[in-house]
Symmetry: C3
């Protein structure tokens, strides 16, 4: 369709009142003229967003603590117009292997963190080297975890005649909707394909491992991550990102029960009871004023100030930046890794793990006591918004003890597994496929994690006790012992 | 109490402002005069409903897309009055075996879909032949499922002297509060009984299998279903029906984890974060305008239009009408059944199941490819409200692959079960009572279902992975194998 | 810091508008002058509370049904001032072993129910002898449960050389964050310690088993309980206490799935769908007017009236006062205990349990039929707000049958356990540490409880059926049998 006709259509676009004064680029008007009826939901979503009603050059003028953009200056193509379809979907076309000719415009299918960085460079930079941004490779490039993934998600074929169970390689589709649904896929451009539409045939990029919003997605421009994981999808909402339902998509039981533990905690109780009266849009986010109890974002990444505007914690999009100890995902607790790319870690036994199977850490790859202390101070400062320092000290002393005890419970399970290997009850060829091996995984990945999370977030008694907690750690150990002896 | 006195009382009824202009029938005023103080909660509930403030003859005059009633004309007794107690509880008395004399009026205890059909005939007709309306018989008339039900819900008596465990027949009460709580009971009128009340002794029908709001309830007028399952209870709320908490009562883990999967999905995340700003009352329900992400009702049955009022999907109260493949409840995936009454299905082995135990479908009872395609087009049209067609195509290609793989995982379990039967590890007399048989059920009823739902609703990674997903499908298979070899 | 300077600071305290007319004591102004910046969150929390804007002497003048305080007169130090920091944290200093000198004031760290009783004496009195207030001792003074606790929460050490698993005594920290997180710890004053603060070194009490908000906490003034368990934390909210998220912190699956069952019930469905329109602050709480479906508090303890103000149930802070049968926590159902201190109970076999291991009750310690009937009448009166008496009668007849059947399923498990003991498959030295013993615990503590709760709250079909329900009671029994025979 010729560009001129599209622009004619643009004049007819009904637009919400608040946005009428905002100028849209001609390109964005052209996008809207069709997508208003082709995909009306995302247009509505965008119309409700700040992007639709904000001129970036106004956004940069806000006082530092109130700013939602981190760039210091707005470049030419973004001057004078709101942030519409074309402003985001046309960036860095040369890097985007998913760029394609679309009714006279060069469009990228996927908007990547690198594209967002034109206005939000500090956020992108913080995120870029985080564990989250590296979530794809931290799984795909780690042979230990890849073997676990393939053991679990491959189809098993029983052959009764041969008395065997054959394990097939997992399909790309299944990997996409299991582990890589959170970790992020590598979106690949296989070529182009034709699609029949109301406006005739169109040519589009043929993408593999797509759709996917995993936080560590590898994008066709080579960048890592998906901002839409937490700021979905054309509303780019800070509110949604600050609510725990967002983190809950990936951080939940049985392996990462952060959300479940939060829900049972006093903080979660207050959030669930009072959330409708809180302000999830405010920047900065004022403790006591905008909210009465923390959500995930409060402790892990938001810019938090007092009601009077005094900073309590700086914003970060490196979601591990305030963490000193790594509670989950691995066999034993250990100091946080130095880098977001954890696939480079080697323990003393040469395995790509931050501790040995008996719990000995690999200090060369982990942060030291000084850095741990610095990070803990940030979190304690946040706790101190509502709790006195003695309370906080006792809380973290309790956590330290729990980590020690829970690691002992994992060590007990590991020792029983080693005995099973020695006894020939299980073989070491694949450490993930036999029943006793799966019980061992259960001990650290589900049960130990639950107790550690519940201890860290204080007050989710069932996750320390009867639901995946000490009850099951104890019972699981007993069942392992019954198999071994 | 004489009718005249009741009407005198009626003058004293305090009534909310908005309703004052609405005329109530004399009979309804009489009901209210007592029930205002006898059961004040349901009176308040009704007062807040549209029924209390709407004249049906006004409701039929609305433009077609805005109509909440589907009848074309209002019959005499409903003319000029709001829809009150008596208008619903007095209908079709000759058919209602639960009709009784109550202070001078002939009242039905239960209001059935057939009664509601006086104003909502299209909804009742769509519902009448659906699987939901047949949910009671689809269980009660299927000997395979009845045997499962009786194996599970009957009391077991251990006799240590005789070294036996005797299985008793389940009680009516337990059947009422387990399977038939969702599937619906058959409410039977056993006779009449006396009840002591503040106003003296009254005679009422003596009902068995009551109370119950199961969606496939057999009513004393011979009709099937309970509108109050989803539109509870005297508020007849469209809002509650559209919120996923309603569907969640029956469609939840471990056997039907639709709600759990939704909660973890991006759609659920957005709903939980933004629901307070949405309009759950609007008819039609406008995508982008009234809501930003779908709930169960959006995809499965509501009338959906664009913000401009262009229809995207027509309303249906046959909740399977938009479904082409049957994901849950049965051993293998298969095309949707042709009729809501699935108790008539016979597979090639003569079992009342839509596939054989090895997965071979019974095509005579299932919809064909054309019908499947037509239904899929409706759902894809809904997705297209926010997602482009390539995204949608990839999504459903992924689902197709998942169904194939998950069915293979169920087949693997079935083969191990067959071997157990051959080995004499379990007997075939009752295929549900031995440990390995229960593991087989677990494989398809809990684990396969979870993965299939999570794939269909896109983005509930734990239900494909560690929580009832591939992790447990794999582990369960291993444990079956350990028992068999 | 000298007191005079603190008071100078007080003049600068920014205060919300609504509170400006309220006089604060000089002591509270002094507290605020520092804590405004030291712990701003709790100051904000308090500022939003009724305490901050209410003069107790006004609160006592309200009509009886609207009163939120139960004292008849306000004593001198509370006259003319709002209820601020000092009014609560300075009470009964002679009894408080946690009292300490703090910048010129004598302050208690912990505010106990006994302190709250100055304005809320009736609530404190009702609570004092309840099972909740005795929750610490009911566990700590019962050797049966203490042994269970120690078996579960102690670290296990595997010694491969000696082929043994050694059970260590649980640490104080782990007990604090498992069982005693709900049951309440005994907070002990070990002495004093120094804390480095922005204002220099300060001396504070050195507390053990702290922080803790368990409902049966033993306080340093010798009193029992923590009002902040349900009215957190400086907002003292009646709204939060009335929302089910509060009770959900402790009353949840797998052992006490009250919240999970509620969530799946029709009551829960309506609450979750409509809560934003309800009034959770109103006193009295008017059925139909302020809420359309009950929460935990409605049935168990709130003062409930009709919209017209007629009382339906009186307020109680003895949370068992409306209960006639004890569903959970113990092996078999039985009448509620006569006293909140259940550690005094002895069954016929001399065990500290309300029934024998075969289900025979210990009537001397349990309420009789008359008292049961009286309590049931209160609950039936509440149901009657929305349901007719026949419905209610059927509901409770169903519950009675369920209790009988579920107790039979527990008895079956007990018999298999006894056989295992006789066979030498397990030893009786510790009845909680072997796999078959853990399955027996699972039968009554998780599975039976689930069915009983689901039956009592009507309409959570998965908790009677597939999720911890009859499905698992049946399967668990089968697995016990497989081990025994």
């Amino acid at each position: 369709m010729p560009k001129r006709i599209l622009l004619l259509f643009a004049l007819l676009i009904p637009f919400p009142d608040q946005a009428e004064a905002i100028h849209l680029s001609q390109e964005t008007q052209a996008c809207l003229s069709c997508h208003m009826s082709i995909t009306p939901g995302i247009v509505s979503d965008w119309q409700k967003s700040r992007h639709a009603i904000t001129l970036p050059e106004e956004a940069v003028k806000k006082p530092p603590l109130e700013r939602r953009v981190s760039t210091q200056r707005i470049d030419d193509p973004l001057k004078g117009v709101a942030v519409g379809c074309y402003e985001c979907h046309s960036r860095n076309p040369e890097a985007h292997r998913d760029n394609f000719e679309h009714f006279g415009f060069k469009i990228n299918v996927i908007v990547s963190p690198k594209d967002c960085a034109v206005c939000h460079p500090v956020e992108e930079e913080q995120f870029r080297d985080s564990k989250k941004a590296n979530a794809h490779g931290n799984l795909a490039k780690n042979p230990f975890f890849t073997m676990l993934l393939e053991t679990i998600t491959g189809v098993k074929i029983v052959d009764l005649a041969e008395l065997s169970i054959a394990l097939q390689k997992p399909s790309a589709f299944t990997k996409q909707e299991t582990c890589y649904s959170c970790h992020g896929t590598e979106v690949q451009v296989k070529g182009t394909k034709e699609l029949e539409t109301k406006l005739g045939k169109i040519k589009i990029p043929d993408l593999a491992n797509w759709p996917n919003q995993g936080v560590g997605r590898i994008n066709p421009d080579g960048s890592r991550g998906a901002c839409s994981s937490c700021h979905p999808r054309h509303s780019f909402s800070i509110e949604i990102a600050r609510k725990p339902f967002t983190c809950a998509q990936c951080h939940l039981e049985p392996d990462v029960p952060a959300w479940n533990v939060y829900q049972e905690s006093k903080h979660g109780n207050i959030f669930l009871s009072k959330q409708s009266e809180w302000n999830f849009q405010a920047v900065p986010w004022r403790l006591g004023q905008d909210f009465q109890a923390p959500t995930c974002a409060t402790c892990h990444n938001s810019l938090i100030t007092t009601a009077a505007g005094d900073p309590i914690a700086q914003r970060t999009h490196d979601f591990g930046a305030r963490l000193w100890v790594r509670l989950f995902g691995l066999i034993y607790s250990h100091p946080q890794p130095q880098k977001g790319d954890t696939s480079i870690i080697k323990n003393k036994d040469g395995l790509p793990l931050p501790t040995t199977l008996l719990g000995d850490p690999a200090p060369d790859y982990l942060i030291g006591p000084e850095e741990q202390k610095k990070r803990q101070a940030v979190v304690k400062g946040l706790c101190n918004g509502c709790h006195n320092r003695d309370w906080i000290g006792n809380h973290f002393a309790k956590l330290d003890n729990t980590l020690k005890e829970v690691d002992q419970m994992t060590l007990a399970a590991t020792k029983l597994l080693v005995r099973a290997w020695q006894n020939g009850i299980a073989d070491t060829f694949n450490p993930f496929d036999e029943t006793i091996e799966q019980r061992w995984i259960r001990q650290w990945l589900f049960l130990a994690n639950s107790v550690k999370f519940a201890s860290a977030m204080s007050g989710a008694p069932d996750y320390t006790s009867f639901k995946y907690g000490w009850w099951e750690m104890t019972g699981n150990l007993r069942e392992m012992r019954d198999k071994v002896y």
